[in-house]
Symmetry: C2
Subunit: 266 residues, 2 copies
């Protein structure tokens, strides 16, 4: 093999910045999405240490053929400082996970975790408008999901986090997005809800627990779990057995990737 | 297509730094060489402006999964400043084109243009030891070739450059490598030589000229042209017609790529 076909001197570069980096899926998935849109572009992993991020990222952004960055843990908050301008979701959440160079040289940041969840529901034919939603988890992913859902005008948003300060903080963010939404800070509770969203880490990997007693969920509730590994969490498995429609973290990830590539290619 | 196969969060990153960058061939060729050695690693184009290079490159070197850089025009000299340690070729030439992170975190630089030429000859079964060599061109590539050839103990090295100061400078470098070599600064001259090396840009792209009257080259002379485009220069075409064995710039590039990847993977 004298040369590979997928990269050359003309290839445009994107990167995902995180610490650690080996576990990220954006390189293979966003590169595939860029290819599917006919772009000569790839997304590479960029492992930057927390102590280096403030000096290193602005210089990486000086690379002329680098057109955008994705940020993952633990850099989603600090990455706001690298943007010249923030989108509506990012302003509400206080974090970004994508930063794109515009044709005028300005860098625009926004967060797509929550938009990916909304997009996953849209692809299944579901809207949040007027719905009663229970959200479990108000950390990074949960806040982004709460804000994105709030932009869709649900009737009720119940929020639970084991850290009540995080639940209170997300309540404030949601209120600023749309003061008409009825917000209830509550224990996990499925009474009278239409949609259940798990954005907590409970059930991840080998964790045998569930964020809520899945056996009690009525069959008309749509159940979403942001967890990506395993693809089908215990929560989703039991909800499916109980007759619920379920939406997986992988679908949110696909929705998010489509939205991020839209944002990169504006 | 949900994902591509050639990149993930675990992929190690190399880059080629230059200005401009679109014309470089290292991304497809070095990536192919890394793959052929079973590595999960790619080399990307990194376009850095000359005004940014001194601040940007040291920060790019802080990326933890970036293991090496290639430097091309106009950064081969300034890149020496980024190395903690320089190899023998780099010290003699005063430039580097590859910089590798060692396991102890130190960055080692060296230049492989000239070694690539020597490697191309070796792969054809030719050595420079004891030979009488005419070298045309003592710029960046010519100096690197002159120094690499000098390490092989030729008997005679004739050097020509249209800029006599460059020829004089290379003469000094060759003398420091091996004072026993007879050095002649001369017009292009094929009398009594074994090997003719063109490292000047004469004959590149649509340039119809030749660096020397190829019709006069005896059939026993091995003729090398560092020019990559066109693959067969007018010099090589006429030398071939005259019975000479010829070696192309593409072969030097392949030899160089093998040597750079050896250096990266030490």
């Amino acid at each position: 093999m004298d040369q590979v076909e997928f990269i050359s001197g003309r290839t445009r570069i994107y990167g995902i910045v995180g610490h650690p980096i080996a576990q990220v899926r954006s390189p293979e998935m966003i590169t595939a999405e860029l290819f599917s849109r006919g772009r000569d572009a790839i997304l590479i992993p960029i492992h930057i240490l927390p102590a280096d991020v403030e000096t290193c990222v602005p210089q990486v952004m000086r690379i002329q053929n680098l057109d955008g960055l994705v940020f993952t843990t633990p850099f989603k908050q600090i990455a706001c400082a690298f943007a010249d301008e923030l989108g509506a979701q990012a302003l509400a959440v206080g974090a970004i996970n994508a930063l794109a160079r515009r044709s005028d040289g300005r860098w625009v940041g926004d967060i797509f975790d929550g938009l990916g969840c909304v997009e996953a529901f849209r692809r299944r034919g579901h809207s949040f408008t007027g719905k009663r939603v229970m959200l479990i988890g108000a950390g990074g992913a949960g806040s982004a999901i709460g804000v994105a859902v709030a932009h869709q005008s649900p009737a009720v948003l119940r929020i639970f986090d084991i850290d009540s300060a995080r639940a209170a903080s997300l309540t404030e963010k949601v209120r600023r997005v749309d003061p008409r939404i009825e917000i209830i800070c509550d224990q996990p509770n499925v009474d009278g809800i239409d949609i259940l969203l798990n954005a907590s880490p409970v059930g991840m990997l080998d964790d045998p627990r569930m964020p809520i007693a899945a056996e009690t969920i009525p069959g008309n509730v749509v159940v979403f779990d942001a967890i990506v590994k395993p693809e089908e969490t215990k929560l989703l498995r039991i909800a499916t057995a109980g007759g619920c429609e379920t939406i997986r973290g992988r679908e949110m990830m696909r929705g998010q990737i489509a939205k991020i590539v839209d944002f990169f290619l504006v």
